[in-house]
Amino acid sequence: MDLFVQLFANGLVNGSHYALLGLAFALIFGTTRITHFAFGPVYALSAYGCWLSAEKFSAPLPLAIVAGIATGALAGALAYLVVYRPFERKGSPPLVILIASLGLFIVLENAIGVAFGTDTKVVPAPPSTVFLWGPLVVTGVQLAQVVMLALTGALLWLYVTRTRFGKALLAMTDSPDMARIVGIDTLRVSLVAFAVGSAIAAVPACLILVKDGATAHMGFIAVFMAFVAVVVGGVGSLRGAVAGGLALGLVESIGMAKIPTEWQNSIAFVVLFVVLLVRPTGLFGGR
């Protein structure tokens, strides 16, 4: 039982990480219909932005994280404006934009490698806090991951349900045609979606930097898991992406009780397959 509780907690922690990734990806994809593979390197860039502030500018960790988020938001917005937007204006089909995002993925990933090198970047760890609640052992960073999901989710929810522009985001996710019909500037909304989505993804990026360190290649598994979380949760649903991410984390964690840790990522593969075979529209999907 104790083991189960610990596994559940670990699942919740990893699930929060995946949920934030999925939420960010879903926000971008839902609003703009762009499969943004460069999401991975932008995520990595956020971690590097955080690292740079902490290492070179000796910023305290919270400030460095803010710098990381700003880096992510800027990089995401630029990716849209410089790379994707020209294709949109030309009327390129979605597949072409997807391939372009793969090109951007390669460019950014390697640019990070050239600029920062291939070693793992770490930041001075915060005073190591470990919480012991009954049978449960949770580190400070792990707690932060769960807390940030709740916080970010709440902030995003407030944004899209309470602010005028946030509702425009939801409108575009619901129907780009209707959004145009009521006079919404879809270019601005897309730009905001990319900036906000990348900012959200920057949060788990910075936490992973603190926890494990950052590498140029860290983005691939991030965009893959984000994609799986969205598919499992149901394409087009923000709530679904969060649920998908949490579900992935929990299944992975429980599964790891029986399977060696190295096979962790393969569990996501199995979950994906099962969901696609049994309920292709995802947990919350079906538009």
Binding site: R164, K167, A168, L170, A171, T173, D174, S175, D177, M178, A179, R180, I181, V182, G183, I184, D185, R287
Partner: protein, 235 residues
């Protein structure tokens, strides 16, 4: 306060297909023009080209004396030109309240928005009752009322409706047509309504135009078309 709309030699289509092939239209300020036509006659293409959702390949569109050909929908909305698209133009995953708020997206003054919302609820009390309900879960008739309500939130001087009666039961169709006529009367908004349902829409029209394979084949008073046999010949 209301505006006139006119199209001259309008050509629009998809790829090589000239769906709208040189159409002239006039709606006088404050009047209701009914555009009839069967499938493939080019009705929705015409609507989308007029509103700016589709790029016209030839001809021009004027709002009063202003050339609005090729203008984006956002600018047309800002100028008081609202569009109610075919098939219940609503945001399915959002509430009635949110839908209306999005209708008033370009308006920032909360007082004006509240006033407009009140007008919509007065005209369609059922929307007030269901203000928190998700639009996608409402019936077809209610969605159509919401779609019209969204247009009203723009405070429009001109409303373009694309087949508002589609998929609705006859009594609801009548309600929709009555609302349109009421909007024309009380708001003074100019109306261009595109329809296939002759019986319900003919009574509210001041003038009728008939489209067939992208061209206008009739433009005049509604009375001569009341005979269905005559209409069969036109179609």
């Amino acid at each position: 306060m209301s505006v006139s709309l006119s199209a001259s030699g309008l050509v629009a289509g998809y790829g090589k297909k000239r769906v709208v092939d040189g159409v002239d239209l006039q709606v006088e300020a404050g009047k209701i023009l009914l555009v009839l036509g069967h499938n493939g006659a080019g009705k929705t293409t015409l609507a989308r080209a007029l509103f700016g959702l589709l790029k016209a390949e030839g001809g021009s569109v004027h709002l009063d004396n202003q050339d609005i050909t090729g203008r984006t929908p956002a600018r047309n909305v800002a100028a008081g030109f609202a569009f109610v698209p075919q098939g219940h133009g609503v945001f399915r995953t959002l509430s009635v309240e949110d839908n209306l708020e999005l209708g008033g997206f370009l308006e920032h003054d909360p007082a004006r928005l509240a006033e407009r919302r009140k007008r919509v609820f007065d005209m369609f009390p059922i929307l007030a009752e269901r203000r928190a309900q998700l639009a996608g879960t409402m019936s077809g008739g209610q969605q159509q009322m919401l779609a019209i309500g969204i247009a009203l939130m723009h405070m429009p001087r001109l409303i373009l409706l694309d087949e508002p009666s589609i998929g609705l039961a006859p009594n609801l169709v009548e309600k929709v047509m009555q609302s349109v006529a009421e909007i024309n009367r009380s708001l003074g908004a100019t109306i261009l309504i595109i329809e296939q349902n002759v019986k319900a829409s003919l009574p509210i029209a001041h003038r009728v135009a008939v489209l067939k394979t992208g061209r206008k084949i009739y433009d005049g008073a509604p009375e001569p078309l009341a005979d269905h046999v005559r209409l069969m010949e036109l179609f």
